[in-house]
Symmetry: C2
Subunit: 726 residues, 2 copies
């Protein structure tokens, strides 16, 4: 194995990239994610541990959010009394009054999901130690978190004081979600028990410090710890293991009991065996999901990095949660679940680890009641999924932005009202899952209800005007344009959705008549309703310019100001900030793949190849990729149109979004959709994976410098290893 292509490295310490690295080096196991803040802390750091499903709506806030859990990583070390800190400069190298870092390296080992930091620290006494920190969140047992601290005396014979801490003095950017946070410390363990102040979730973290010396428990306000002191001779070393167990009331009846039991089990197992089991679990994941790329080291490392971030956020054992837009790696978008999940992050799992995809689809199934409530409240029928979703299944998009308009008033956020294509996106993911897995049991029991009840919503939502159907006040993928009339993306996908719904119903009647009957009855799929679906399919307006032979993004799009987006290269981020909200709204600048996204999803089912090319030539130069969702979809479509240079250019952009921070906001968390989008762009786009009557097949359009791409997909229970060659 070529470790170069499995390792992300920070060397030396880059204080100016502190928050970037906190996000990039996040560890997680699909149960929780923990940002890579330093054990000892650093000025301006933003430690966060986010546990799937642990939402809370704090007082005086607009919407619920994923709660920042206690920091289980904290470790304080003193060397001959000098607190270990990342101090990189001193006027006196030989006797630094507050200690000094002589060396630093941090690496995230993607293959085994292990974060490792090595530091050389010279204390005020002159004693110098080498400290190695390791941490992982066990993928084998998601309730176990493990750290190892390895201290070697390089010079001198220092006294080492080590305090292993659980820190419950945490908030979400100042918002306090914990009503109580009770510390306790005994000989065997130290722990925190917290209860959220609105949702009432309970959480317990229990830790033990193992190694030389006799640890002494300590508690303070919202803080529990264990302290040990030892003496090291020159060239001596000591290994401390800190093991933590975590449970919430979402997992069990009494998190405190469960955590104590799990901690005892982890102690008995020991760090080395825990790590071995964790490595084995990762081996399984990588065997399923790794894409190998020969001829492009950047792309190879980057696609492993993006796949890693999908995997550490993916719920392996829980069908009540799904992946938020920023995964579990940062507070951005408050842990809310968007369409990013179903159309960007979920398909890679559908094709490689379908049980994970199923969990994420079940998350939506279990929230159908919330979607029905939203439909009712808006005067519609069926199920209308929220644009932003949490645990309740209700709409949790904030109504007001922090950004002010020209009059100094907060901007109104319309996506929660009008970005309604989310319901069709979910249906798309359900149908894609079914098609690839052949999981009829899922489809008949759960999936069909999602597809059909969201179809019911659209049947009630479509507006019949002058003998045609229209959709007004929609927001398509391009969010620069709000509340538009007849978004071609939305209208065309609704038609596709209703077509699929009718076909699905026919299939159910043939293959699962009892389920068909149940659904017809429960969802009231009467003849009139189905007739209206057929009428909408036949008469929906699909905006199209016959003269130019292109789809029109929405009614009136081309009346807006044309701005040559390519002149604004190179940028960081979108044009919105530079143009201002009002001007962007009335311009032809597109935030992200919209018509192009439609082309990715429907391909030549949408239109003949020449129209697709015309669309590309129209919309590609108008898109500023202000959304991280955009480049991967462009890469996919460009490759399918045989535009290999553009495909590579866009794929590289997608792969670099987090690694090179080319949107400038990685500190807020990983762009999960870009990660999933990149996987799809390579597999569906550049490699051209598609289904034939004989099963999956490729038709590659690789960048000229790529030699070979390898990956596996599962089709109807069978593994297909593929190699695409240039």
């Amino acid at each position: 194995m070529d470790k170069r292509l499995w390792t992300l490295r920070e060397y030396p310490f880059h204080p100016e990239k502190l928050r970037y690295h906190e996000t990039i080096f996040t560890v997680g196991n699909g149960y929780l994610g923990t940002r890579a803040s330093f054990e000892e802390g650093y000025e301006g750091d933003t430690p966060a541990t986010l546990v799937h499903g642990l939402y809370n709506h704090a007082p005086h806030t607009q919407v619920p959010e994923l709660v920042n859990a206690p920091n289980w990583t904290e470790v304080q070390i003193k060397v001959d009394g000098t607190p270990f800190r990342l101090i990189t400069r001193s006027s006196d190298l030989l006797n630094p009054p507050q200690g000094l870092i002589l060396g630093y390296e941090r690496a995230l080992h993607l293959d085994e999901a292990l974060l490792r930091r090595v530091v050389l620290f010279r204390a005020a006494s002159g004693a110098t130690v080498r400290i190695i920190f390791e941490r992982f969140a066990s993928l084998h047992d998601p309730h176990i978190l493990a750290q190892r601290i390895h201290v070697t005396a390089i010079d001198g014979a220092p006294e080492i004081e080590l305090e292993a801490v659980l820190d419950g003095q945490v908030s979400n950017n100042g918002v306090q979600h914990w009503a109580t946070m009770a510390p306790s410390a005994q000989a065997e363990q130290f722990s925190l028990f917290g209860v959220t102040n609105q949702s009432g979730y309970k959480l317990t973290m229990a830790s033990a410090l193992l190694g030389p010396g006799t640890p002494v428990g300590q508690t303070q306000e919202r803080r529990a710890s264990s302290v040990v002191r030892i003496q090291l001779g020159r060239d001596d070393h000591a290994i401390f293991d800190k093991l933590t167990a975590v449970y919430t009331s979402r997992d069990c009846a009494d998190p405190t009991v469960s955590a104590a039991t799990k901690l005892a089990e982890a102690r008995a197992t020991g760090y080395d065996s825990l790590l071995a089991a964790h490595r084995q679990a990762w081996k399984h994941c990588w065997q399923a999901m790794d894409i190998t790329i020969e001829g492009d080291d950047f792309a190879q490392l980057a696609v492993r990095f993006t796949t890693y971030h999908l995997l550490i956020a993916a719920p392996q054992h829980d069908e009540q949660v799904s992946i938020g837009a920023k995964t579990l790696s940062g507070l951005g978008y408050k842990g809310h679940v968007f369409w990013d999940t179903e159309l960007f992050m979920l398909p890679p799992f559908t094709l490689t680890l379908p049980s994970i995809a199923r969990n994420m689809l079940m998350y939506r199934y279990h929230r159908l009641e919330g979607a029905r409530q939203k439909a009712r409240e808006n005067g519609y029928e069926g199920a209308m999924f929220p644009w932003e979703s949490t645990d309740t299944g209700l709409e949790t998009t904030p109504k007001w932005s922090d950004v002010l308009d020209k009059q100094g008033q907060p901007l109104r956020i319309w996506t929660g009202d009008n970005e309604q294509h989310i319901s069709t996106d979910i249906a798309y993911a359900v149908l894609q899952y079914w098609r690839w897995t052949g999981d009829d049991a899922f489809m008949t029991q759960y999936g069909a209800e999602i597809v059909l009840d969201t179809a019911v919503f659209w049947g009630s939502r479509a507006q019949f005007i002058d003998g045609r159907y229209e959709l007004h006040d929609q927001i398509g993928p391009d969010e620069y344009h709000e509340n538009v009339k007849n978004s071609v993306f939305v209208n065309r996908m609704v038609v596709w959705h209703l077509q699929q719904a009718l076909q699905l119903l026919t299939w159910l009647e043939q293959h699962a008549p009892q389920d068909a009957a149940r659904l017809v009855q429960n969802l009231d799929l009467n003849a009139e309703r189905l007739a209206r679906w057929r009428d909408i399919i036949a008469n929906m307006i699909i905006p199209f310019d016959e003269a130019r032979q292109i789809h029109v993004q929405f009614d009136g799009f081309f009346d807006f100001e044309y701005i040559p987006v390519q002149h604004y290269e190179p940028r960081v981020g979108g044009l919105w900030g530079y143009l201002g909200h009002e001007r962007a709204l009335r311009s032809q600048v597109i935030k992200q793949a919209d018509v192009v996204m439609l082309m990715a999803l429907l391909g030549e089912e949408l239109a003949p190849r020449q129209v697709l090319l015309n669309n590309w030539e129209t919309y590609y130069p108008r898109c500023d990729h202000g959304s991280s969702l955009s480049p991967a979809m462009h890469a996919w479509v460009a490759a399918r149109l045989g535009l290999r240079d553009e495909a590579y250019h866009m794929l590289r952009h997608a792969l670099a979004i987090d690694l090179e921070d080319n949107k400038g906001n990685v500190a807020d968390g990983i762009h999960g959709a870009a990660c999933g989008g990149a996987w799809q762009a390579i597999v569906f786009g550049l490699c051209g994976l598609h289904l034939t009557s004989d099963g999956p097949a490729l038709s590659p359009q690789l960048p000229p410098h790529w030699k070979r791409v390898g990956f596996k997909v599962v089709y109807q229970g069978q593994v297909y290893p593929f190699v695409a060659e240039a």
Copy 2:
């Protein structure tokens, strides 16, 4: 051509890496080098243009240095009156009071040695422009420097004011070398004429601003410029070319006349044709010197980067100059020429572009008188080359360091006195050149005199003690240990040197008896002298530990404190600063390949393979690579010993020294020796290039992930294309 592997890119702007990029993106043509400071300036920037051979010993300074020449790159632009500056933040994106950068990208195109920057700038008026800056120093005609400034109005219809400047308000970190710096400005050109205050060198730079509008000349104190104002409509663009001609009194009788003539010629030719000729010249260089590496994109790009930096500093047309330790890319080491040149930078030229190697050897030949003077002054015979050399050929190593010892006194620098192996290093380079090129004319007329007269020096320098020869008070490559007794590197290389000298003399007597007679007479190579050489060869002490079967770096080395260097990983820079001078001096920490360097130069001529392996195991763990010269030599030797992992580890370190700034001092200039060392480590080390009786041949030891390495060498006038495969 895969442009990815030929391009270094900065995106977006990284103010914290300002000086790093100034060095990295240096342009040059073997006549001068110019750091990549911005045309408009930036707080904390360090613009510098260094012209080969233009040394000056300013009053109140210890030693002469390469003079910072006027800044020919300055261009000031105003957009609707707002000065263009790299301002990256504003509270008001739409109406930034002092302008705002909306986008930024800079790329150095290694294939064509062209630096290109694209910026988007919004003026206070709201007008937004896209500005593209290009610059190159013509390799086709080294007296021509060219810039193009391409301005496009993206938004609004701004007035553009552009001032093309020659800025003579320059110094070397505050040291003023210019006695006079006279500006002038006419319709056709603006210019500066300067005279250095000690050496009396004259320099003229003359520029012309071409493009729309009517330029007006301006002069200020030590500053000449040309200003033009134009109005741009929206989507309009304008192209301004600034051409500069430069001459010194080293090149011609009257630099002012020559510059004016050259500028007129450049105007007539025009930017596009100048660029085309420049590209063609670079194509020739790359065809000769490029190493292609398949299977490692980092190594591929990095070796092109290091080769580029060798090429832009290499004197193509001048045998009176050579390449300083920091090339022409920064003020570090004051432009002085060390052994870095002969043993690190020169061999790649010897094997690919031998006329350049010849120029650099001729630089030494022309300075034999200085070397003889140094020998005389120190009580020796023959030629004793200075450790640090400038134009005079005299010793220019400073005697005192800026670093203070424990008593607060400046540290004495001993290298100018005692790092005497430089004379043998130069002889080594001469003999290597002769062996590879078969250039007997050079050897008989010039090279032999260097080899023989430095041999004369050693004959007088060796100390006869108790029937053996010794060398006391030497500094070997490992500069942590000063004034040691019997450095094995020095003693063994002196033996080798004297052996070569005797063989050379025999060859001369057979093949060029007249030259032999001339040299015997002029250098007084009498029988007694030659007998002493033979006696030294037979009886020189070569420190060796028979029990351990290893060479001993110098007498008493193993009596010093052992410090486990590997425990101090990862570091930035050497251990010297952390240990302190006094402790380092009495430790076994080695600054750089010393015995290992001897193994690189002599291979199995030094000792049987098992002894070489023993040496490696002894010295590799003791070396802290505090010198940038070290890793490449280790890579070379490790590969020859079949240690492919260590070889790759060390090569990567060498390749990253400048690109990843892993010594932390790239701001001072490129590490030229690391560049040349990397080339040699790949060619001689990993690919195992060696000479057989049938000519050159390979015996590769490639890193496991490398697929293929390709390069060409010239052996005795014939081109040998090589491909090494894994």
